[in-house]
């Protein structure tokens, strides 16, 4: 450790806002993913100016920097891969402005996603992106990863709701991009920075759109005796251009694990359920619910159940949002994948995942955002069994490769981070990387900010990087 830097940081922020003892740093060496990376120092800036000064100090001492929100990320985005100074935004957690009339909020990056919705609720407004970790993840982290969630099917992911950012560049320079109104002149820098996984700038202030709460909501639970029927239903709902606000799928094996734990009301003997939500005008919701029920029935749904009240609705969603925690009870370790396929390919993709699982002798569960083709297969394994661990990695890589083969993408909402950087050549050519690298270098020329993310470290099509771990990760989307 560099004692000179430590003293300077303590002087700037106060001793309580600088961590350096190994036992303190331990907490910050992991996130919601299976990766690890320990920083040399963890600091808690309180202002944008603090962030700028910290960045400059780190540069003087030639240390890399990495930003971090709540650490719920699932791809290693908020880990200090090569050590350095970690900036944790926990103290920058104020909602700076609620502009009800114009439906905007200005927040600091450490504001927890759900807290913004709570603050806006009395005015009939809310923040639409709702990752499963919404009660702990921060909006700064949502911006870095371009986070999704169940209801982004109808309302769009984080980038569709951000209009303006204040940033600190790796040079320490403070800049603003975008505009509060959302129609800034020139290149769409906001669109570039959202989802750049903290590799080009640190975000210190965010202006977001607030959405109006719908007049009516109906939540449906469609119960199926076969996974194929459930998958065909999703493909058909999409093909008929019905847009529910959310369309989530849990396969039978997964829902039984969830039901044991949460008691959400999922039928234990079913092969799959769809959790569907329609929102809007009372008249729109009635028509959409009827149309969805018709499609479910056409695909042999055993039953389509309508949540009778908010309590039943909340319970169904609790089952969905806490599912990954429930799965932690089943095996020593699990690995939640994140891949995207065209929605028309959903039935065949689920069959392929089953085949891959059978091949390796794994149970692979599926609980995911079916409506936008965003798969989250879960591989359960025992990391102490080396062969099983190797097989888990191979199965995961095969599934992601399959997503790419059918025209999909490596990640729908978790980000590339450390996890999938070596898989990037499956989708991108040398020319693509060259341009992405030039864009990266335009802002982060020395790779001092969040090094070792997104870009592959080695040439050629590598593998998924995961390391075994033994605790469930409740933050999974």
């Amino acid at each position: 450790m560099n004692s000179g830097l430590l003293r300077e940081l303590e002087k700037l922020l106060g001793p309580a806002s600088v961590l350096y003892r190994p036992e303190d740093l331990l907490l910050y060496e992991y996130d919601g993913s299976v990766e690890k990376g320990r920083p040399n120092l963890v600091v808690f800036p309180a202002t944008t100016e603090d962030v700028s000064r910290i960045v400059k100090l780190a540069a003087e001492h030639h240390l890399p920097i990495v930003g971090r929100g709540a650490g719920t990320g699932l791809s290693g985005g908020a880990l200090a891969r090569t050590g350095g100074v970690m900036l944790v935004f926990a103290r920058m957690n104020r909602i700076l402005e609620l502009d009800i009339e114009n439906q905007r909020a200005v927040v600091q990056p450490g504001v927890v996603n759900y807290e913004l919705t709570l603050a806006a609720e009395p005015y009939g407004l809310y923040f639409a992106p709702d990752p499963s970790s919404w009660k702990s993840c921060t909006i700064g982290g949502n911006v870095a990863e371009n986070a999704g969630g169940p209801h982004t099917l109808a309302y769009g992911v984080t980038t569709n709701h951000v209009t303006d950012l204040e940033l600190v560049l790796p040079s320490g320079e403070i800049v603003r991009v975008g505009s509060k109104h959302g129609d800034a002149l020139g290149y769409d820098l906001t669109g570039l920075f959202v989802g750049s996984e903290g590799t080009v700038a640190l975000v210190t202030e965010i202006t977001v759109k607030l959405s109006r709460k719908p007049e009516a909501v109906k939540t449906l639970l469609a119960i199926f005796d076969s996974v194929d029927d459930a998958a065909e239903t999703v493909a058909d709902i999409t093909a008929r251009a019905i847009t529910p606000a959310a369309c989530e799928m849990l396969d039978g094996w997964t829902l039984r694990a969830v039901e044991d734990y949460i008691h959400a009301g999922f039928p234990m003997d079913s092969a799959a359920v769809l959790l569907l939500e329609v929102e809007g005008l009372t008249e729109t919701v009635a028509a959409q619910a009827a149309a969805i029920t018709e499609v479910c029935n056409a695909h042999h749904a055993r039953e389509v159940r309508l949540a009778r009240d908010n309590a039943e609705r909340d319970l169904l969603w609790k089952g969905r949002k806490n599912a990954f925690g429930a799965l932690g009870r089943l095996a020593p370790s699990n690995y939640v994948l994140d891949g995207v396929i065209p929605r028309s390919k959903l039935p065949q993709a689920l069959r392929r995942i089953r085949q891959i699982g059978d091949h390796y002798g794994f149970q692979i569960g599926n609980i995911f955002h079916a409506g936008d083709g965003n798969l989250h297969p879960i591989v359960l394994f025992d990391p102490r069994d080396k062969k099983q661990f190797e097989h888990a990695l191979q199965a995961a890589a095969q599934i992601i490769r399959y997503c790419v083969e059918v025209g999909g993408a490596l990640t729908g909402e978790h980000g590339v981070g450390m996890e999938k950087s070596e898989l990037m050549p499956l989708l991108f050519s040398d020319a693509d990387f060259d341009l992405m690298r030039r864009v990266h270098d335009a802002f982060n020329p020395d790779s001092s900010l969040n090094p070792g993310k997104i870009f592959p470290l080695s040439k050629g099509c590598g593998e998924i990087r995961i390391r075994p771990q033994s605790s469930p990760r409740p933050g999974a989307a």
Partner: protein, 476 residues
């Protein structure tokens, strides 16, 4: 003509074949950007051919501007150099369409109207209903960054462009995004192409998500008001209601008058087959007497089941009456296209309404509307310039100055009002730019975007994409 122009044509002909290279001055003049004429027009038939041309331009340090149907080349500043016009209209194939996934990939030169005709066979459409609709290409619509009234419901292109392929300044084919509706793999470089005016890359292919076409049942609504206050009161009431109309625009009396008196010169093509129009009907029908040309109007469109349509009609009429509308009308399939088509073609109609039209794009928060409307009208009236305004009710507005003649004196008055507008919008926390203007006005004084603090970052991006500055130099 540039120093390279003598060798330029034979070199390009050798590379591409003589049939793809045009150097006839009259033909080149058709590709002029703000009266600056290129030395040669090249029409590649594949992305690879286009990339070869870019590599040639990079090698010879020639400035190149890609174009589609050339309907919106007047947007932006005049180029500082312009050697090669790259006509992208032959790269116009649908590369991929998965109706079951509602995703689509097509060549940059694909005409939007033709694309929508294909999508409508599956009851889908792309909400890229930009002005000059019947001629515009998807590449031009994205590069120009122009919006449409449908942004109220569907958002702007950044909300439904999911990926792109393009050629960088070194002549390499690159891509970003993908063909799926949810994707965080790599940087969203395709978003940067929106509104880039060809300054970053040559777009070869665009991937979109498509949407169910609102054809099963759709209606329009028009309310008229003696003053802006009434229209703004209704705007506020709708914004705070559970209604989510497809379009939602406020028109000044000046624009209402143009709508009442004129027909867009751009040939009309039916957008939705559900609209009761013959395919061979090439002009919009006149607007009905329910449109009050001397008043402010609020126009909206909505779609859905008969129950939903009833609800909209009922609620909008009630809210309008509470806002003291002088009249309200519900438009059906026979009357709606006359307004909807004009709203879509507003910018083209404004350009046709004066020999020296200047159109400002102004973005503010809706709470600034009332003060801004008054200020804009005051500036124009004091300068004795006729004017027209349309406000997308979410916050973006277009304000046109429509002088009766084009001369130096008009130009002086336009420049004066322009600087007043830039100042007052900026003071109100908004942003304004001169979207369309006579070239003489653009080059006169500082008509460039009022300075943004992130301009240096944009220059860094421009250098990352196009290190030699060969793409549309000086246009942004």
């Amino acid at each position: 003509m540039t120093k390279a122009s003598t060798s330029l044509v034979p070199a390009l002909e050798t590379t591409l074949g003589a049939s793809r290279v045009v150097s006839d001055p009259a033909a080149c003049a058709n590709y002029a950007v703000d009266e600056i004429i290129p030395s040669v027009v090249v029409k590649p038939t594949s992305p690879e051919e286009a990339a070869e041309i870019v590599r040639f331009a990079a090698l010879e340090n020639l400035a190149l501007i890609p174009s589609g149907a050339r309907t919106k080349l007047r947007i932006g500043m005049p180029p500082s150099r312009y050697d090669i016009a790259l006509d992208m209209t032959a790269i116009n194939q649908i590369a991929h369409y998965d109706p079951g996934d509602l995703t689509l990939s097509a060549g940059a030169g694909m005409p939007i109207a033709k694309l929508n005709a294909t999508l409508l066979e599956n009851r889908q459409f792309l909400p890229l209903l930009v002005p000059w609709y019947s001629r515009s290409t998807i590449g031009g619509a994205i590069a120009s960054g122009i919006d449409s009234p449908l942004r109220q419901f569907y958002g702007t292109a950044r909300d439904f462009l999911i990926g792109a392929e393009f050629i960088d300044g070194a002549g390499k084919l690159c891509k970003s995004g993908g063909r799926v509706v949810k994707n965080v793999t790599g940087y969203d470089l395709h978003k940067l192409l929106i509104g880039s005016l060809g300054t970053l890359a040559v777009i070869t292919r665009l991937n979109f998500r498509t949407f169910p076409a609102p054809i099963a049942g759709s209606r329009g609504f028009v309310a008229s008001f003696p003053n802006a206050e009434g229209a703004l009161a209704l705007r506020r009431a709708i914004a705070q209601s559970p209604l989510t109309p497809l379009t939602f625009d406020i028109l000044s009396p000046g624009l209402a008058q143009i709508f009442s008196e004129k027909i867009p010169a751009t040939p009309e093509t039916p957008v939705f087959s559900g609209e009761a129009r013959n395919a061979n009907q090439y002009t919009l029908p006149p607007i009905g007497d329910w449109f009050q040309p001397r008043e402010w109007q609020l126009c909206a469109a909505f779609a859905g089941t008969p129950e939903v349509l009833d609800r909209y009609a009922r609620d909008l009429t009630r809210l309008a009456s509470e806002s003291r509308a002088t009249s309200t009308t519900i438009l059906d399939d026979t009357t709606r296209p006359s307004v909807w088509g004009r709203l879509r073609e507003t910018l083209s109609m404004l350009l046709e309404s004066s020999p020296a039209t200047a159109i400002f794009k102004i973005s503010v928060l809706p709470t600034q509307f009332a003060a801004l409307f008054a200020t804009l009208h005051q500036f124009a009236d004091l300068a004795g310039l006729p004017h027209a305004l349309v406000a997308r009710a979410g916050g973006t507005l277009y304000f046109a100055l429509l002088p009766a003649s084009a001369n130096d004196e008009t130009s002086t008055r336009l420049a004066q009002v322009a600087s007043q507008i830039f100042q007052s919008v900026s003071a109100a926390g908004g942003e304004s730019s001169l979207l369309f203007a006579p070239p003489t006005l653009k080059t006169r004084g500082n008509m460039r975007n009022p300075s943004r603090s992130d301009l240096p970052l944009m220059h860094r991006l421009k250098s990352a994409f196009d290190p030699q500055n060969i793409f549309a130099p000086g246009r942004l």
